[in-house]
Protein backbone atom coordinates (compact mmCIF):
# COMPACT_ATOMS: atom_id res chain seq x y z
CA UNK A 1 0.00 0.00 0.00
CA UNK A 2 1.35 3.44 -0.76
CA UNK A 3 1.27 6.04 1.99
CA UNK A 4 0.57 9.74 1.52
CA UNK A 5 3.27 12.15 2.66
CA UNK A 6 1.35 13.42 5.75
CA UNK A 7 0.80 9.79 6.85
CA UNK A 8 4.49 8.98 6.38
CA UNK A 9 5.50 12.09 8.29
CA UNK A 10 3.19 11.25 11.19
CA UNK A 11 4.57 7.72 11.50
CA UNK A 12 8.15 8.88 11.07
CA UNK A 13 7.74 11.36 13.88
CA UNK A 14 6.33 8.66 16.18
CA UNK A 15 9.00 6.10 15.24
CA UNK A 16 11.80 8.60 15.70
CA UNK A 17 10.49 9.95 18.99
CA UNK A 18 10.01 6.53 20.57
CA UNK A 19 12.83 4.74 18.73
CA UNK A 20 10.40 2.04 17.65
CA UNK A 21 11.98 -1.23 16.47
CA UNK A 22 11.25 -2.93 13.16
CA UNK A 23 8.76 -5.54 14.44
CA UNK A 24 6.70 -3.01 16.37
CA UNK A 25 6.79 -0.71 13.34
CA UNK A 26 5.48 -3.50 11.14
CA UNK A 27 2.63 -4.24 13.55
CA UNK A 28 1.70 -0.59 13.74
CA UNK A 29 1.88 -0.07 9.98
CA UNK A 30 -0.28 -3.13 9.25
CA UNK A 31 -2.88 -2.15 11.84
CA UNK A 32 -2.97 1.48 10.72
CA UNK A 33 -3.36 0.53 7.06
CA UNK A 34 -6.15 -1.89 7.90
CA UNK A 35 -7.98 0.62 10.12
CA UNK A 36 -7.88 3.28 7.42
CA UNK A 37 -8.94 0.80 4.73
CA UNK A 38 -11.89 -0.28 6.88
CA UNK A 39 -12.92 3.16 8.17
CA UNK A 40 -11.87 5.23 5.14
CA UNK A 41 -9.88 7.41 7.52
CA UNK A 42 -6.36 8.89 7.44
CA UNK A 43 -3.31 7.53 9.24
CA UNK A 44 -2.10 11.03 9.96
CA UNK A 45 -5.42 11.84 11.67
CA UNK A 46 -5.19 8.69 13.81
CA UNK A 47 -1.61 9.31 14.87
CA UNK A 48 -2.07 12.97 15.68
CA UNK A 49 -5.33 12.42 17.59
CA UNK A 50 -5.63 13.46 21.24
CA UNK A 51 -5.31 9.99 22.78
CA UNK A 52 -2.02 9.18 21.03
CA UNK A 53 -0.63 12.70 21.56
CA UNK A 54 -1.49 12.57 25.28
CA UNK A 55 0.40 9.28 25.66
CA UNK A 56 3.36 10.61 23.66
CA UNK A 57 3.66 13.70 25.78
CA UNK A 58 2.96 12.13 29.21
CA UNK A 59 6.02 12.97 31.30
CA UNK A 60 5.29 10.12 33.75
CA UNK A 61 5.82 7.46 31.10
CA UNK A 62 9.10 6.11 29.81
CA UNK A 63 9.71 5.31 26.15
CA UNK A 64 8.80 1.61 26.46
CA UNK A 65 5.56 2.35 28.35
CA UNK A 66 4.56 4.98 25.81
CA UNK A 67 5.09 2.51 22.96
CA UNK A 68 3.15 -0.18 24.84
CA UNK A 69 0.19 2.13 25.43
CA UNK A 70 0.18 3.47 21.90
CA UNK A 71 0.21 -0.06 20.53
CA UNK A 72 -2.63 -0.97 22.88
CA UNK A 73 -4.58 2.03 21.66
CA UNK A 74 -4.02 1.23 17.98
CA UNK A 75 -4.86 -2.44 18.63
CA UNK A 76 -8.08 -1.28 20.29
CA UNK A 77 -9.00 0.58 17.10
CA UNK A 78 -7.95 -2.30 14.86
CA UNK A 79 -9.75 -5.06 16.82
CA UNK A 80 -12.66 -3.29 18.54
CA UNK A 81 -14.84 -6.35 19.11
CA UNK A 82 -12.00 -8.60 20.23
CA UNK A 83 -10.83 -5.95 22.71
CA UNK A 84 -14.42 -5.46 23.86
CA UNK A 85 -14.81 -9.18 24.63
CA UNK A 86 -11.40 -9.19 26.33
CA UNK A 87 -12.50 -6.22 28.45
CA UNK A 88 -15.76 -7.94 29.40
CA UNK A 89 -13.88 -11.10 30.40
CA UNK A 90 -11.32 -9.09 32.37
CA UNK A 91 -14.14 -7.36 34.26
CA UNK A 92 -15.78 -10.71 35.07
CA UNK A 93 -12.43 -12.08 36.29
CA UNK A 94 -12.02 -9.07 38.59
CA UNK A 95 -15.50 -9.70 40.02
CA UNK A 96 -14.25 -13.07 41.24
CA UNK A 97 -11.75 -11.30 43.54
CA UNK A 98 -9.29 -14.19 43.29
CA UNK A 99 -6.12 -12.34 42.45
CA UNK A 100 -3.29 -12.25 43.38
CA UNK A 101 -3.18 -15.73 44.97
CA UNK A 102 -5.10 -17.35 42.13
CA UNK A 103 -4.40 -16.14 38.63
CA UNK A 104 -7.14 -16.52 36.04
CA UNK A 105 -6.28 -15.73 32.42
CA UNK A 106 -7.57 -16.33 28.90
CA UNK A 107 -5.37 -17.08 25.89
CA UNK A 108 -4.09 -14.34 23.60
CA UNK A 109 -6.71 -13.50 21.00
CA UNK A 110 -9.15 -15.75 22.95
CA UNK A 111 -8.13 -18.67 20.76
CA UNK A 112 -8.78 -22.09 22.28
CA UNK A 113 -11.84 -21.13 24.26
CA UNK A 114 -10.41 -22.14 27.61
CA UNK A 115 -9.76 -20.44 30.92
CA UNK A 116 -6.37 -20.88 32.53
CA UNK A 117 -6.24 -21.03 36.34
CA UNK A 118 -2.90 -20.92 38.16
CA UNK A 119 -2.11 -20.99 41.83
CA UNK A 120 0.67 -22.12 44.12
CA UNK A 121 0.59 -23.37 47.69
CA UNK A 122 3.45 -23.80 50.11
CA UNK A 123 1.55 -25.92 52.65
CA UNK A 124 -1.54 -28.10 52.97
CA UNK A 125 -3.71 -25.43 54.63
CA UNK A 126 -2.92 -22.89 51.98
CA UNK A 127 -3.81 -25.42 49.27
CA UNK A 128 -7.16 -26.21 50.93
CA UNK A 129 -7.99 -22.51 51.29
CA UNK A 130 -7.23 -21.78 47.67
CA UNK A 131 -9.23 -24.76 46.43
CA UNK A 132 -12.16 -23.65 48.60
CA UNK A 133 -11.88 -20.12 47.23
CA UNK A 134 -11.78 -21.45 43.70
CA UNK A 135 -14.74 -23.77 44.30
CA UNK A 136 -16.73 -20.84 45.63
CA UNK A 137 -15.77 -18.75 42.59
CA UNK A 138 -16.78 -21.54 40.22
CA UNK A 139 -20.36 -21.24 41.45
CA UNK A 140 -20.56 -17.54 40.68
CA UNK A 141 -22.42 -16.17 37.71
CA UNK A 142 -19.26 -14.39 36.53
CA UNK A 143 -17.61 -17.71 35.65
CA UNK A 144 -20.61 -18.80 33.60
CA UNK A 145 -20.52 -15.43 31.81
CA UNK A 146 -16.81 -15.84 31.02
CA UNK A 147 -17.41 -19.24 29.43
CA UNK A 148 -20.39 -17.87 27.52
CA UNK A 149 -18.23 -15.06 26.14
CA UNK A 150 -15.49 -17.50 25.16
CA UNK A 151 -18.10 -19.61 23.40
CA UNK A 152 -19.26 -16.76 21.21
CA UNK A 153 -22.26 -15.62 23.19
CA UNK A 154 -21.41 -11.96 22.81
CA UNK A 155 -24.46 -10.08 23.99
CA UNK A 156 -23.11 -6.57 24.54
CA UNK A 157 -21.85 -4.51 21.61
CA UNK A 158 -18.72 -2.35 21.79
Amino acid sequence: MSWDQPDRDALFSLVLGLKIGENHQRDLMDWLEEITLRDQSKIQVLLTGKVIKDIESDPRLGRADKLKRIKQQVRRLRFPRLVHVEDLIRARIQELKLQPEIKVTVPAGLEGGSLRVEFAASNHDQLKKQIAKLTEAAEKDSIAKIFALLAGKITENP
Binding site: L37, R38, F79, G113, I154
Partner: protein, 363 residues
Protein backbone atom coordinates in the same frame (compact mmCIF):
# COMPACT_ATOMS: atom_id res chain seq x y z
CA UNK B 1 -19.10 -16.45 -15.64
CA UNK B 2 -16.06 -15.17 -17.48
CA UNK B 3 -15.08 -17.39 -20.44
CA UNK B 4 -11.56 -18.79 -20.38
CA UNK B 5 -9.49 -17.46 -23.25
CA UNK B 6 -5.76 -18.05 -22.71
CA UNK B 7 -3.22 -16.05 -24.70
CA UNK B 8 -1.40 -19.25 -25.60
CA UNK B 9 -1.39 -22.98 -24.93
CA UNK B 10 2.08 -24.39 -24.34
CA UNK B 11 2.21 -28.12 -25.00
CA UNK B 12 4.98 -30.33 -23.78
CA UNK B 13 6.04 -32.66 -26.60
CA UNK B 14 4.36 -36.03 -26.16
CA UNK B 15 1.12 -34.52 -24.85
CA UNK B 16 -0.16 -33.74 -28.34
CA UNK B 17 -1.39 -37.32 -28.75
CA UNK B 18 -3.77 -37.14 -25.79
CA UNK B 19 -7.51 -36.54 -25.65
CA UNK B 20 -7.02 -33.42 -23.51
CA UNK B 21 -4.91 -31.91 -26.30
CA UNK B 22 -7.51 -32.77 -28.93
CA UNK B 23 -10.26 -31.23 -26.79
CA UNK B 24 -8.25 -28.05 -26.28
CA UNK B 25 -7.56 -27.77 -30.00
CA UNK B 26 -11.24 -28.13 -30.78
CA UNK B 27 -12.50 -25.75 -28.08
CA UNK B 28 -9.85 -23.06 -28.45
CA UNK B 29 -9.49 -22.78 -32.25
CA UNK B 30 -8.27 -19.17 -32.19
CA UNK B 31 -5.63 -19.62 -29.51
CA UNK B 32 -2.04 -20.23 -30.62
CA UNK B 33 -0.53 -23.57 -29.56
CA UNK B 34 3.21 -23.93 -29.05
CA UNK B 35 4.90 -27.34 -28.77
CA UNK B 36 7.99 -27.30 -26.52
CA UNK B 37 10.45 -30.01 -25.57
CA UNK B 38 10.01 -29.58 -21.85
CA UNK B 39 8.37 -27.28 -19.34
CA UNK B 40 11.12 -25.55 -17.35
CA UNK B 41 11.74 -26.96 -13.89
CA UNK B 42 10.18 -24.81 -11.21
CA UNK B 43 8.58 -22.66 -13.89
CA UNK B 44 10.92 -19.79 -13.08
CA UNK B 45 9.68 -17.91 -16.13
CA UNK B 46 6.08 -18.01 -14.91
CA UNK B 47 7.10 -17.31 -11.34
CA UNK B 48 8.97 -14.16 -12.38
CA UNK B 49 5.96 -12.88 -14.32
CA UNK B 50 3.71 -13.23 -11.31
CA UNK B 51 0.72 -15.22 -10.19
CA UNK B 52 -1.94 -13.29 -12.10
CA UNK B 53 -0.02 -13.29 -15.39
CA UNK B 54 0.64 -17.02 -15.13
CA UNK B 55 -3.11 -17.63 -15.44
CA UNK B 56 -3.11 -16.21 -18.96
CA UNK B 57 -1.23 -19.13 -20.51
CA UNK B 58 -2.19 -22.76 -20.26
CA UNK B 59 0.49 -25.42 -20.06
CA UNK B 60 -0.32 -28.97 -21.06
CA UNK B 61 2.21 -31.37 -19.62
CA UNK B 62 2.61 -34.86 -18.21
CA UNK B 63 2.38 -35.26 -14.44
CA UNK B 64 5.48 -37.04 -13.26
CA UNK B 65 4.57 -37.84 -9.65
CA UNK B 66 1.59 -39.40 -7.91
CA UNK B 67 -1.85 -38.03 -8.75
CA UNK B 68 -3.63 -39.21 -5.60
CA UNK B 69 -2.66 -37.81 -2.22
CA UNK B 70 -4.11 -37.50 1.25
CA UNK B 71 -5.44 -34.01 1.86
CA UNK B 72 -2.89 -32.31 4.17
CA UNK B 73 -5.58 -30.61 6.29
CA UNK B 74 -4.20 -28.23 8.88
CA UNK B 75 -2.09 -28.95 11.99
CA UNK B 76 -4.12 -29.79 15.09
CA UNK B 77 -7.50 -29.32 13.38
CA UNK B 78 -10.23 -31.93 12.99
CA UNK B 79 -9.59 -33.71 9.69
CA UNK B 80 -12.21 -35.30 7.39
CA UNK B 81 -9.93 -38.01 5.95
CA UNK B 82 -10.12 -36.79 2.38
CA UNK B 83 -8.02 -37.69 -0.64
CA UNK B 84 -7.17 -35.38 -3.50
CA UNK B 85 -6.41 -35.88 -7.17
CA UNK B 86 -4.36 -33.14 -8.77
CA UNK B 87 -5.29 -33.24 -12.45
CA UNK B 88 -4.34 -29.57 -12.91
CA UNK B 89 -2.50 -26.86 -11.03
CA UNK B 90 -3.65 -23.27 -10.51
CA UNK B 91 -7.01 -21.96 -11.63
CA UNK B 92 -8.34 -19.65 -14.36
CA UNK B 93 -10.39 -17.72 -11.79
CA UNK B 94 -8.77 -15.28 -9.38
CA UNK B 95 -10.23 -15.02 -5.87
CA UNK B 96 -8.61 -12.38 -3.66
CA UNK B 97 -8.24 -14.81 -0.78
CA UNK B 98 -7.05 -17.83 -2.78
CA UNK B 99 -4.40 -19.77 -0.85
CA UNK B 100 -2.80 -20.86 -4.11
CA UNK B 101 -1.31 -17.36 -4.36
CA UNK B 102 1.05 -18.44 -1.60
CA UNK B 103 1.06 -22.20 -2.12
CA UNK B 104 1.95 -21.96 -5.82
CA UNK B 105 3.97 -18.74 -5.62
CA UNK B 106 7.12 -20.43 -6.95
CA UNK B 107 5.25 -22.62 -9.41
CA UNK B 108 2.24 -20.62 -10.59
CA UNK B 109 1.86 -21.83 -14.17
CA UNK B 110 -1.69 -22.81 -15.04
CA UNK B 111 -1.13 -26.46 -15.90
CA UNK B 112 -3.30 -29.33 -16.98
CA UNK B 113 -1.85 -32.81 -16.85
CA UNK B 114 -2.29 -34.73 -20.06
CA UNK B 115 -1.69 -38.29 -18.82
CA UNK B 116 -5.17 -38.97 -17.47
CA UNK B 117 -4.68 -42.66 -18.33
CA UNK B 118 -1.89 -42.82 -15.71
CA UNK B 119 -4.22 -41.17 -13.19
CA UNK B 120 -6.90 -43.79 -13.76
CA UNK B 121 -4.40 -46.67 -13.53
CA UNK B 122 -3.07 -45.27 -10.23
CA UNK B 123 -6.59 -44.79 -8.83
CA UNK B 124 -7.66 -48.29 -9.90
CA UNK B 125 -4.63 -49.82 -8.19
CA UNK B 126 -5.20 -47.93 -4.96
CA UNK B 127 -8.95 -48.59 -4.80
CA UNK B 128 -8.63 -52.28 -5.57
CA UNK B 129 -5.81 -52.73 -3.04
CA UNK B 130 -7.92 -51.27 -0.20
CA UNK B 131 -11.44 -52.51 -0.91
CA UNK B 132 -12.34 -52.41 2.81
CA UNK B 133 -11.63 -48.69 2.97
CA UNK B 134 -14.06 -46.16 1.56
CA UNK B 135 -12.37 -43.25 -0.19
CA UNK B 136 -13.72 -39.74 -0.47
CA UNK B 137 -11.71 -38.15 -3.23
CA UNK B 138 -11.79 -34.59 -4.54
CA UNK B 139 -10.18 -32.88 -7.50
CA UNK B 140 -10.50 -29.30 -6.30
CA UNK B 141 -7.53 -28.82 -4.00
CA UNK B 142 -5.08 -26.93 -6.20
CA UNK B 143 -7.45 -26.08 -9.02
CA UNK B 144 -11.17 -25.71 -9.63
CA UNK B 145 -12.69 -29.10 -10.51
CA UNK B 146 -14.85 -27.85 -13.38
CA UNK B 147 -13.78 -24.39 -14.58
CA UNK B 148 -11.56 -25.83 -17.33
CA UNK B 149 -13.82 -28.76 -18.13
CA UNK B 150 -15.51 -27.23 -21.20
CA UNK B 151 -12.05 -27.00 -22.80
CA UNK B 152 -10.30 -30.16 -21.57
CA UNK B 153 -13.18 -32.62 -21.10
CA UNK B 154 -11.53 -34.18 -18.05
CA UNK B 155 -14.77 -35.26 -16.39
CA UNK B 156 -15.81 -37.34 -19.41
CA UNK B 157 -12.85 -39.59 -18.61
CA UNK B 158 -13.01 -39.74 -14.83
CA UNK B 159 -16.74 -39.72 -14.06
CA UNK B 160 -17.46 -43.05 -15.86
CA UNK B 161 -14.46 -44.59 -14.09
CA UNK B 162 -15.43 -43.46 -10.57
CA UNK B 163 -19.10 -44.25 -11.17
CA UNK B 164 -18.08 -47.93 -11.35
CA UNK B 165 -15.95 -47.98 -8.17
CA UNK B 166 -17.56 -49.74 -5.19
CA UNK B 167 -15.42 -48.03 -2.55
CA UNK B 168 -15.04 -44.42 -3.66
CA UNK B 169 -16.98 -41.21 -3.91
CA UNK B 170 -15.61 -38.51 -6.20
CA UNK B 171 -16.30 -34.89 -5.30
CA UNK B 172 -16.03 -32.25 -8.03
CA UNK B 173 -15.76 -28.89 -6.25
CA UNK B 174 -16.24 -25.66 -8.18
CA UNK B 175 -17.08 -21.97 -8.26
CA UNK B 176 -18.08 -22.28 -11.91
CA UNK B 177 -21.25 -23.28 -13.73
CA UNK B 178 -19.42 -25.53 -16.20
CA UNK B 179 -21.57 -28.63 -15.84
CA UNK B 180 -22.66 -29.29 -19.44
CA UNK B 181 -20.13 -32.11 -19.80
CA UNK B 182 -21.58 -33.91 -16.80
CA UNK B 183 -25.23 -33.96 -17.68
CA UNK B 184 -25.33 -36.92 -20.05
CA UNK B 185 -23.09 -39.11 -17.88
CA UNK B 186 -24.50 -41.56 -15.34
CA UNK B 187 -22.99 -40.81 -11.91
CA UNK B 188 -24.48 -43.97 -10.36
CA UNK B 189 -24.60 -42.20 -7.01
CA UNK B 190 -20.79 -42.13 -6.84
CA UNK B 191 -20.21 -38.53 -7.83
CA UNK B 192 -20.88 -35.46 -5.69
CA UNK B 193 -20.79 -32.12 -7.47
CA UNK B 194 -20.26 -29.37 -4.96
CA UNK B 195 -20.11 -25.61 -4.96
CA UNK B 196 -18.17 -23.13 -2.87
CA UNK B 197 -20.85 -20.63 -2.01
CA UNK B 198 -20.82 -17.01 -1.00
CA UNK B 199 -23.34 -14.19 -1.22
CA UNK B 200 -23.25 -12.17 -4.44
CA UNK B 201 -21.69 -9.22 -2.61
CA UNK B 202 -18.63 -11.33 -1.70
CA UNK B 203 -18.49 -12.81 -5.21
CA UNK B 204 -18.54 -9.34 -6.79
CA UNK B 205 -15.79 -8.02 -4.56
CA UNK B 206 -13.49 -10.98 -4.10
CA UNK B 207 -14.26 -13.96 -6.34
CA UNK B 208 -13.08 -12.55 -9.66
CA UNK B 209 -14.06 -14.39 -12.83
CA UNK B 210 -16.28 -16.93 -11.07
CA UNK B 211 -19.93 -17.76 -11.71
CA UNK B 212 -22.52 -15.68 -9.91
CA UNK B 213 -24.41 -17.12 -6.96
CA UNK B 214 -27.50 -17.60 -9.15
CA UNK B 215 -25.46 -19.30 -11.91
CA UNK B 216 -23.92 -21.70 -9.40
CA UNK B 217 -27.33 -22.60 -8.03
CA UNK B 218 -28.81 -23.09 -11.51
CA UNK B 219 -25.90 -25.39 -12.35
CA UNK B 220 -26.44 -27.28 -9.09
CA UNK B 221 -30.09 -27.85 -9.92
CA UNK B 222 -29.19 -29.13 -13.40
CA UNK B 223 -26.75 -31.58 -11.85
CA UNK B 224 -29.30 -32.71 -9.30
CA UNK B 225 -31.84 -33.28 -12.06
CA UNK B 226 -29.21 -35.33 -13.91
CA UNK B 227 -28.87 -37.64 -10.91
CA UNK B 228 -25.84 -36.19 -9.15
CA UNK B 229 -25.50 -35.81 -5.42
CA UNK B 230 -24.71 -32.25 -4.34
CA UNK B 231 -22.45 -30.63 -1.80
CA UNK B 232 -22.14 -27.02 -0.72
CA UNK B 233 -19.19 -25.43 0.99
CA UNK B 234 -19.91 -22.16 2.74
CA UNK B 235 -16.26 -21.42 2.80
CA UNK B 236 -14.72 -18.94 3.21
CA UNK B 237 -17.40 -17.22 5.22
CA UNK B 238 -16.64 -13.52 5.33
CA UNK B 239 -17.70 -11.29 8.18
CA UNK B 240 -18.75 -7.70 7.41
CA UNK B 241 -21.57 -5.38 8.47
CA UNK B 242 -24.88 -7.06 7.52
CA UNK B 243 -23.21 -10.36 6.66
CA UNK B 244 -26.07 -12.13 8.42
CA UNK B 245 -28.70 -10.83 6.01
CA UNK B 246 -26.64 -11.78 2.93
CA UNK B 247 -25.79 -15.27 4.16
CA UNK B 248 -29.31 -16.01 5.34
CA UNK B 249 -30.69 -14.94 1.94
CA UNK B 250 -28.09 -17.04 0.13
CA UNK B 251 -29.11 -20.10 2.17
CA UNK B 252 -32.78 -19.46 1.46
CA UNK B 253 -31.99 -19.25 -2.28
CA UNK B 254 -29.95 -22.45 -2.07
CA UNK B 255 -32.67 -24.49 -0.41
CA UNK B 256 -35.33 -23.00 -2.66
CA UNK B 257 -33.34 -24.12 -5.72
CA UNK B 258 -32.22 -27.63 -4.84
CA UNK B 259 -33.75 -30.55 -2.95
CA UNK B 260 -31.79 -30.66 0.31
CA UNK B 261 -32.56 -34.36 0.75
CA UNK B 262 -30.15 -35.12 -2.06
CA UNK B 263 -27.38 -32.98 -0.60
CA UNK B 264 -24.55 -35.19 0.60
CA UNK B 265 -22.89 -32.64 2.84
CA UNK B 266 -22.48 -29.00 3.69
CA UNK B 267 -19.35 -27.54 5.17
CA UNK B 268 -18.61 -24.26 6.85
CA UNK B 269 -15.30 -22.51 7.27
CA UNK B 270 -14.41 -18.91 7.92
CA UNK B 271 -11.93 -16.86 5.92
CA UNK B 272 -8.42 -17.95 6.79
CA UNK B 273 -5.06 -16.90 5.56
CA UNK B 274 -1.47 -16.86 6.64
CA UNK B 275 0.65 -13.76 7.29
CA UNK B 276 2.44 -14.54 4.00
CA UNK B 277 -0.79 -14.81 2.05
CA UNK B 278 -1.97 -11.57 3.60
CA UNK B 279 1.13 -9.83 2.24
CA UNK B 280 0.39 -11.21 -1.23
CA UNK B 281 -3.23 -10.09 -0.96
CA UNK B 282 -2.05 -6.59 -0.03
CA UNK B 283 0.09 -6.50 -3.17
CA UNK B 284 -2.45 -8.00 -5.57
CA UNK B 285 -5.72 -6.70 -4.11
CA UNK B 286 -4.80 -3.68 -1.97
CA UNK B 287 -8.36 -2.48 -1.55
CA UNK B 288 -9.94 -5.78 -0.52
CA UNK B 289 -11.82 -5.45 2.75
CA UNK B 290 -10.88 -9.04 3.55
CA UNK B 291 -7.71 -7.60 5.06
CA UNK B 292 -9.63 -5.71 7.70
CA UNK B 293 -11.42 -8.54 9.54
CA UNK B 294 -10.69 -9.14 13.21
CA UNK B 295 -8.42 -12.12 12.62
CA UNK B 296 -5.93 -13.56 15.09
CA UNK B 297 -3.09 -15.99 14.57
CA UNK B 298 -4.13 -19.54 15.50
CA UNK B 299 -1.81 -22.35 16.64
CA UNK B 300 -1.72 -23.86 13.13
CA UNK B 301 -0.21 -20.62 11.75
CA UNK B 302 -3.42 -19.45 10.07
CA UNK B 303 -5.26 -16.22 10.76
CA UNK B 304 -8.96 -16.61 11.53
CA UNK B 305 -11.65 -14.38 13.00
CA UNK B 306 -11.20 -14.53 16.79
CA UNK B 307 -12.87 -17.62 18.20
CA UNK B 308 -15.98 -16.18 19.92
CA UNK B 309 -16.78 -14.23 16.75
CA UNK B 310 -16.43 -17.15 14.36
CA UNK B 311 -18.26 -19.54 16.68
CA UNK B 312 -21.13 -17.06 16.71
CA UNK B 313 -21.03 -16.97 12.88
CA UNK B 314 -21.08 -20.78 12.63
CA UNK B 315 -23.97 -21.05 15.08
CA UNK B 316 -26.06 -18.55 13.16
CA UNK B 317 -25.35 -20.31 9.86
CA UNK B 318 -26.16 -23.67 11.39
CA UNK B 319 -29.48 -22.31 12.67
CA UNK B 320 -30.45 -21.05 9.19
CA UNK B 321 -29.36 -24.35 7.61
CA UNK B 322 -31.28 -26.45 10.15
CA UNK B 323 -34.42 -24.38 9.63
CA UNK B 324 -34.54 -25.46 5.97
CA UNK B 325 -32.67 -28.77 6.03
CA UNK B 326 -33.05 -30.33 9.46
CA UNK B 327 -31.00 -33.48 8.94
CA UNK B 328 -28.44 -32.56 6.30
CA UNK B 329 -24.85 -33.40 7.30
CA UNK B 330 -22.90 -30.28 8.25
CA UNK B 331 -19.24 -30.21 9.16
CA UNK B 332 -16.55 -27.64 9.81
CA UNK B 333 -13.47 -27.34 7.66
CA UNK B 334 -10.12 -26.81 9.39
CA UNK B 335 -11.43 -26.12 12.85
CA UNK B 336 -10.34 -27.37 16.25
CA UNK B 337 -12.22 -29.79 18.49
CA UNK B 338 -12.96 -26.89 20.85
CA UNK B 339 -14.74 -24.99 18.07
CA UNK B 340 -16.68 -28.13 17.06
CA UNK B 341 -17.79 -28.52 20.67
CA UNK B 342 -18.91 -24.90 20.87
CA UNK B 343 -20.82 -25.04 17.58
CA UNK B 344 -22.34 -28.53 17.58
CA UNK B 345 -21.96 -29.62 21.21
CA UNK B 346 -19.72 -32.50 20.13
CA UNK B 347 -16.54 -33.17 18.20
CA UNK B 348 -15.63 -36.25 16.15
CA UNK B 349 -13.49 -38.65 18.17
CA UNK B 350 -10.98 -39.05 15.36
CA UNK B 351 -10.56 -38.30 11.68
CA UNK B 352 -11.81 -41.77 10.78
CA UNK B 353 -15.12 -41.04 12.48
CA UNK B 354 -15.80 -37.88 10.47
CA UNK B 355 -14.62 -39.52 7.25
CA UNK B 356 -16.98 -42.47 7.77
CA UNK B 357 -19.90 -40.18 8.65
CA UNK B 358 -19.36 -38.14 5.50
CA UNK B 359 -18.98 -41.24 3.35
CA UNK B 360 -22.29 -42.55 4.72
CA UNK B 361 -24.00 -39.24 4.10
CA UNK B 362 -22.82 -39.43 0.52
CA UNK B 363 -25.64 -41.90 -0.14
Amino acid sequence: MQAFQPEEVIVERGSETTSIYRNLREKLPHVPFKIVDGVANGDSDFSARGFGTAKKKLVLTRHKGEFLKKCPGSDGQVCCNYFVINFASNCPMDCSYCYLQEYLAENPALKVFSNVDDLLIEAAKLLSKHRAFFFRIGTGEITDSLALDPYIGFTREVVPFFAEQPNALLELKTKSDCVDGLLDLDPKDRIVVSWSMNPQRVIDLDEHGTASCAERLRAARRCQEAGYRLGFHFDPMVEYPDWEQDYEEMLEQTFATVDWRRISWLSMGVLRNTPGLKRTMRDRFPSTRLLTGEQVLCPDGKLRYFQPLRVEMYRKMLGWIRRAAPTVKVYLCMESKEVWEQVFGFAPGCEKELGIQLANFGF
